[in-house]
């Protein structure tokens, strides 16, 4: 459940933040969520990938669909791509990776900054 909530929150931030800040603010948003909500590094990365990927896929797909690929076809040609669908995949991939890596960074930062976790482990090992 916590995993789903994290994905949901990271998705919201990935959707909203770039309206006000640079495009890579999606990494900061995801990082913040993983810093605040505990999870394994693996799950944090995966959550970010899913959230960022879904949001960027949804946005690029809906724009492309609504405008009949009017510009994506031209940009695809400039990049020597055979089909504009590749640009949606590429946007999805970038959104996914950047959000995922941001989330992973947040999670790693949390383990560095979190003394409680350490002491409990120590307690367990001594018992």
């Amino acid at each position: 459940m916590k995993f789903i909530i994290k994905i949901f929150l990271m998705g919201i931030l990935s959707y909203l933040l770039p309206f006000y800040f640079s495009w890579w603010s999606i990494a900061l948003g995801a990082g913040l969520i993983s810093l605040l909500i505990r999870g394994s590094n693996f799950n944090s990365f995966n959550g970010g990938v899913i959230a960022g990927g879904l949001v960027w896929f949804y946005l690029s797909f809906t724009i492309d669909n609504a405008t009949n690929s009017i510009l994506s076809e031209k940009i695809a040609l400039l990049m020597n791509l055979t089909d504009s669908i590749w640009l949606i995949y590429a946007s999805t991939l970038i959104g996914a990776l950047v959000t995922g890596l941001g989330s992973l960074t947040g999670s790693l930062l949390r383990s560095i900054l979190s003394p409680k976790k350490m002491s409990r482990n120590e307690y367990v090992s001594y018992s």
């Binding site: 770039p18 640079s22 495009w23 510009l71 990049m79 970038i94 950047v98």
Partner: protein
Amino acid sequence: MPFDNIPPIGKLLSPHQGFWQNSEKEPISLDKFIELIELKESVTVQFDELLIPHINAKNNEDLYMTQGYVTAYHRLWQMDFYARVVMGRLSEVVGIKALEYDRLQRRLGLKDMTLKLHDELMKDAYYASIISSYTNGVNTYIASLSQGDYPIEFKLLDYEPEKWTTVKTCMAYALLASTLSRSEADIEHTNFRKMFGENLFNVLFPEPDGTSAPVIPKDTPFDFEPVSQPQKPEKFEVQHIVNESISKQNPLNGSNNFAIDSTKSKSGHAILANEPDLELTAPSIWYASHLTSPDINVMGVTVPGTPVILIGFNDSISWGVTNSPRDQVDWFSVTFKDASRKEYLYNNQWFKTEQILEEIVIKNADNFIDTIIRVHHGPIVYDRDYLSNHEKVNLAMRWIAHDESTTFKALFNFNKANNYDEFVEGLRFFSGPPQNIIYSDTKGNIALNLPGKFPIKFPGQGKFILDGSDPDSEWKKYIPFEHRLERYNHPQGFLSSANQFPVDRTTYPYYVYSHRFENYRNRRVNDRLITMQNIEPEDLMSLQNDNFNYIASEILPYLLSQLDTLSLNEDQNKFFDELQNWDYFNHPNLKAPTNFELWSDILWDQLWDEFDTMSFAVNKPDIYTTSQLILSDSLVGFSDRLSTPEKETTSDLINYAFDIAVDSLNEWLSINGKNHSWNEFKGTEVNHLISSFTSFNSKNISIGGNHNIVNAASKHHGPSWRMVVEMDPQGINAYGVYPGSQTGNPGNPMYGHMITPWAEGKYYNLKFGQNKLLVGDILYEIQLTPQE
């Protein structure tokens, strides 16, 4: 990837800020209600179905501010690009490949011209207010943008729009002067004369006498006492050989305009037509608008970034322009005292030079500093750092466009003129680039004027490089405005111009010279207008789209007569038949124009192959002179092909070129796999200003015509704006079209929407009136209000 500088991929592909945001579903995405700081009263802008803004303001400041705002909305990147072209700042955004271009622009002094014009205009409160308002409008638009809103070109080249300035609002003058008044061949002529002598030079590069359909009809009297002309000095030129000359304006830049008066017109109203033939670019060089305030009601086109209508009409008059080739540039050879270049020789004395350091910022490279020396003639363009090839040649450029210009004021006067007298008052301010300015009004009058600043020269002055140390070689006086070339109405019922020689040399007391003039379009237009009667606007549209190939009509019968037809093979016979059955019209679906183009081009190349072996800058004789030499069989030995031991005659050469033309056609057919109809072979294109953005181009546009044809659409050049205006006092009937679209965004559904109708010769009705548009004509309407 085709670009050298790969844009940051994350930013470009971001759905919030990247290219996705430039994909538009609707043609217009502006808010319906916009609040603007500094607006005085509310303004309405109605966009018609062509996306032309009809701006209705209650005062001029608001009018020009709104013009700046909506022009930026459609063409912001192009405006930024033009400003960089003029200021020599392209390298900043496209990198080192633009360095030589930027250097030339700065050496030509385009930046200085713009600054000078700006400072002059800003001294006058009236023009300062217009320029500041327009600039404010552009900046208000830029300030309203978020990263995602930037035009796509900014994203692909990875830079951001910078603040617009009042200086940039004045850039069009230098841009147009450089496009239109910089044509000369002084260096090429000097080289040729030195190597081959004056006699051959005069045969291959003759001066026209102006007796064949000049701009000003031959019966026009010039009953004034001319200003005395300077005496031709004994020696005023220097002998140099310069290996390479600077890039020049394209010789295919040209235009047609014509007007008929009430006697020729079916409705009894004058009708005016104009089309400037320029490089076909995306976004188009023109932006159409309709500007209304209590003070003004004018419609037409202008260069984006410029707050005035350059070609257009109001409710009383209409005007249009074609370039008038006149030698506006002379080169002066300068001798420095020593390598420090601090002093130069003039009138047997040493004078101080001025040294300017131009720093050019280059993307992904170190800045480049160019040292430009100025003498009293002007900037030294050719020197040890630029194109002199260590030959120690220093050439200073004397260009009229460097002088103070008041052309802006002329155009504002045209915009508001109510009659011919007011129009002529405007002409007084017109200082260049030299144009044949055609005029018509609602009273049925027509006129042609060639205003501008022209030095009074002795015959031959400035055809070759001049001696910069000799005061006698310089320009001293200028032709007075009252002595200009002018024609107001004419019994023949029409006036026209097409870049030809302006006047019968025997009637006009001043020396007129340029190295190149049109010799075909002017005659075709005049031939047609003489016979046409009861003319309606549609007839002038047909004339603008006329495909008659005058060159072919004059020379093809002779070429065919010289062919040895007995020995033709099957392919050659077919090629021959297509030409023999041709009526000389370059219609898009015909094959004969392709055959003629191939044959005549190869003939021209083979004929002047001697020029290809020369290692210094030189021009080949033009097509008209070449045709005349062929027809009179006086090719003075040039018919010999250098690559063969035989001495070919003209006839041999014609037959040889024919064989090669057929082979070339077969090769073209095997490569392209389609038929050789003229439109397919010519393949007219409208290309984006950034050449690597290939998918923003339009290729293989099906249009007839060619260079030297009234419908002057060649591969990359052509009619950049076609306008026909019927001057009905009850309401102007205006029609127009251009190969492009108001929107400059390749992601807009209307991007380039007028290209196909333009190619087919169709026109749009330009909605014009003092009152607001009819509801049915409005595509989108916005209200701009002062910010509370």
